[in-house]
């Protein structure tokens, strides 16, 4: 058994409306950050997990994303793993 940290980066699917991103972009503009475009708000989830190997850790993390962490209809995810033991 080995331990891993996983960082899951979830973002709204391209093309889908992102009201929060729009609002934040508006707020940035009004603070004078004019050159900012395409703001998209997502989620960052960090966790530790145990697994036999990097592949099996990836499999587990993917399963967690598909089942719970990301909404399959509206969100995309990326997983970044690091072996910590």
């Amino acid at each position: 058994m080995s331990a891993f940290t996983a960082e899951v980066r979830i973002s709204p699917r391209a093309g889908l409306l992102d009201p929060e991103g729009n609002a934040v972009q508006g707020a940035l503009h009004s603070l004078g950050f004019d050159g900012v475009e395409g703001v998209r708000m997502g989620r960052l989830i960090r966790l530790r997990l145990e697994a036999d190997s990097l592949e099996s850790a990836r499999g587990t993390a993917e399963a967690m994303c598909k089942q719970l962490l990301a909404n399959p209809v509206t969100e995309d995810f990326e997983i970044h793993l690091e072996d910590i033991r």
Binding site: L16, L17, P19, E20, N22, A23, L68, L69, N71, V73, T74
Partner: protein, 243 residues
């Protein structure tokens, strides 16, 4: 008539639904804790509003894995009426029992106030007591009511009577001002293709008594009662006929 009200950790409109069902409609209302695996043979299932699991992650995302949800989806598959209100609507979307999803309000703020919705489809078991175009005064109270779905899903809903309620002003006109959360096309409530699972963001259970300002929400409960009674008496006739 028996109404099962599913209570998740963090549900907080279960009580209101219970009161409305029991005292206004005269139904045999029962709370069902989310850990249960079976329903108490209800005629109707209600997923009430609130903040199941604190709305953490995404509203409804964790609740939909509750043990009771298997029974709820079986009940729906068999044609039983399932009504999701507010957080209940969000859970139904997360569970894939209704299309689309509910994002944060466009204002990024929680919105708690009176709104008007127009009945867009009175030909359902939830809305038979209303007329198309009728405008209802109801309360909303949510932070994530911004309904979105793929464009073709929206077109399909719009074309096939899947949109049951739409935010309008008091005169029934659609406008951005009248839309409390930025929902696509002002969609406030949708129904599945089979016509037995409906979700809506406004709270009909809070508008069933004149003392509290509006009775416009009664129609949903009364429509369901008509539906259940109708089915029951038909079934009764059928049984007697066979006998």
């Amino acid at each position: 008539m028996r109404i099962a009200i599913i209570t998740f950790p963090g549900s907080n409109c279960d009580y209101d639904c219970y009161q409305a069902a029991r005292h206004v409609i005269g139904a045999d209302a029962r709370y069902v804790w989310h850990r249960e695996e079976a329903l108490p043979e209800p005629d109707i299932v209600v997923l009430p509003g609130g903040f199941s699991y604190g709305d953490y992650l995404r509203a409804g995302a964790i609740a939909r894995f509750s043990p009771i949800m298997n029974a709820v989806s079986r009940f729906a598959e068999e044609g039983g009426p399932v009504l999701g209100i507010c957080n209940g609507f969000q859970i139904l979307c997360e569970a894939g029992m209704l299309p689309g999803t509910l994002l944060r309000n466009a204002s990024l703020k929680f919105v708690g106030r009176k709104v008007y919705v127009r009945v867009e489809n009175d030909d359902t078991m939830f809305t038979s007591r209303y007329r198309d175009g009728q405008v209802l005064a109801l309360h909303v109270a949510h932070g994530m009511g911004n309904y979105v779905a793929d464009p073709d899903v929206i077109s399909e809903l719009e074309a096939d009577g899947g949109v049951v309620f739409r935010y309008t002003d008091a005169d029934g006109h659609v406008s951005d001002d009248a839309n409390p959360n930025g929902a696509t096309n002002g969609i406030a409530g949708v129904i599945n293709a089979a016509g037995n699972v409906m979700g809506l963001m406004p709270h009909p259970e809070r508008s069933v008594e004149a003392l509290l300002g509006s009775t416009d929400g009664r129609g949903i409960f009364e429509s369901l009662r008509d539906h259940v009674m109708g089915v029951t008496s038909a079934a009764l006739t059928a049984t007697m006929g066979r006998g």
